[in-house]
Point group: C2
Chain length 402, copies 2
Amino acid sequence: MSLIVKKFGGSSVANKERIFNVAQIIVDDYRKGNDVITVVSAQGDTTDDLIEKAKEINDGNISKREMDVLLTAGEQISAALLAMAIEKLGCPVISLLGWQAGFNTDSNHGIARIKNINTERIKTEVSKKNIVIVAGFQGINKYEDITTLGRGGSDTSAVAIAAAMHANRCQIYTDVDGVYTADPRKVKGAKKMKEITYDEMLELATLGAQVLNNRSVEMAKKYNVELEVLSSLERIEGTIVRETTKMEKMLIRGVTCDKDVATISVIGLKDLPGVAFKLFNKLAQYKINVDMILQSVGRDGTKDITFTVSRGNADTAIESIESLKSVFQYSKITKDATVSKLSIVGAGMESHPGVAAKMFEALYDADVNIKMIDTSEIKISVLIDENLSEKATQAVHDAFMA
Amino acid sequence: MSLIVKKFGGSSVANKERIFNVAQIIVDDYRKGNDVITVVSAQGDTTDDLIEKAKEINDGNISKREMDVLLTAGEQISAALLAMAIEKLGCPVISLLGWQAGFNTDSNHGIARIKNINTERIKTEVSKKNIVIVAGFQGINKYEDITTLGRGGSDTSAVAIAAAMHANRCQIYTDVDGVYTADPRKVKGAKKMKEITYDEMLELATLGAQVLNNRSVEMAKKYNVELEVLSSLERIEGTIVRETTKMEKMLIRGVTCDKDVATISVIGLKDLPGVAFKLFNKLAQYKINVDMILQSVGRDGTKDITFTVSRGNADTAIESIESLKSVFQYSKITKDATVSKLSIVGAGMESHPGVAAKMFEALYDADVNIKMIDTSEIKISVLIDENLSEKATQAVHDAFMA
């Protein structure tokens, strides 16, 4: 007998049929003798609809506290409906909201961090042999005000419960059936992985693999919670995310390509002390995440700084720098939103030199020019022409996976 | 400076414009220096929509506990939106759900009774000069499970807070601007009353005046909470409901006519001991409310029993009696759903004989035949032909009010 924590996203419970599909998955595991705790997100577009209602009322600065009160109604509804479906299938069940399930968070409304989970109530319900449905994404702060955990918060809720309850496994159900070596819709020969490490998963998530929320993977790593990414529509094994010394470290785990990238180049920047610091400090004030950075010495004692941001932030980035024009001089700023970032990830590359060379060779053979390079211990990213994304991804995937 | 408790129903917050209308009413009273606590219902049809969703999942016996989790999301949404609107108008505000506002109830999900209100949190917020918005209709039981107070529960929430906080007044905003001596859409000369007693209000509510929920009036009477019924759309004085010895007791307060009435007649019932008891006991088992009862001696040592029920219960009532055919004999059962119940209410009639005679005379003059009569200390009801409802109501109203 195991204790399993499951998490289903909004699309998995979007309508009556989907809710019963989820209910059946839960009931099947319960009837095998397992204890099952399930975290559920708001149905389909509920959260977006509620945000829309709020914006109708106040399109300016809405109180984040009240926004949290509003949005958490979404998971409340889906949790109750899922419980009703399980009841209809004949199993004992109880739904718990964030505060009932003991989710204590800090007071950062909208992006709260879980401080601890008081598992008393959940334990009581599990010991009564109830299937427990927990409204994801939500908690309360020390003032007993409702908080939310931010984007992907239900993943975090699930991992946190799995950690606190020492669950045997935390299953994250999505609309894909696991983590692949590349996007199977785009890359021929992309294979589903049986296993992957937390660090690899983190790099893949950051790189746009869109499977698991980063915070939840970080938390799973910290508390050593074994994750499984699997499909809510097909009953097949997914991909396990865990730390393992036994499994041979694969050289390359996955190849991803992220098109939400733009480069900003500040050309002919006067080379004064602290100029780069001031530049990126300004961007940080505007809450703009900078990814890759390239600095090169230009002509006449000036330098050029090129960096990447998400496309939605590109214009704001330019404006924020232009507002500093009086502080330091540069000749011009340019933007390029026709690039993409191709990355390979693998914990094995740490101990295998030559991985970068192999990647660059594959790109050279495919006539793909590299504009920028960025590396970490388990990742190599290159910036390429957006139009070559598919061809380049396939070439690199072929080079390592074939 | 006063402490005012206000309550707005679902239609008063059905859309953005209505929400801002309500927010403005609250803000105006707050800016006059009052402390304002506002109880709000779910928006428009939200509750019915949620019930529909639940029935899609399980059209049989849905867990009442989970139904309460589901439905309370409705007030959660409207409370947050109203708070956002008040914020937009520039006043400090905080929304509280039932459990946050300290509503402790028993465990009868769907029809819970308030046991007490822990006012600590509300008092703290009021002392901080926050406008407090409370999600109506909801509370928690001793297990920290969410409960609901049943139909009209938000009225009860408002009166309970007003009682617990010793508010100066509890204002119930509706889509009518007060309590009238008769339905102003149907009776010429119907006048809005400035004041009415709790008992009169109770009789009028029971008789179909549809203004205030009975439980809330009973609670207001018990804790001596001064109520005001007023319009959320027009800024005019409404009707005050309170106990007063000063005001001269009006002979007649109001005339109402309820068409949701059917008579059931059991004819030729064998006159055995306990036969009436068994009959009405059976109806009680089916949860059928019986209103007026007439028993008459028939021919041949048998008797006839005629009683009234709501039209929706008439067929069930007949079936439940027919299931007892083997226990006691009767010759036939008949149903008449073409009747209505005309009533006059007034605390003054206790000490004024001749009120009934005056009513009957008015009906006689209008050629309206009386089928049954029922009286209480402050009420006289007669059963008449449904087609004569308007004419009879006008005649009685003219007799007493002209």
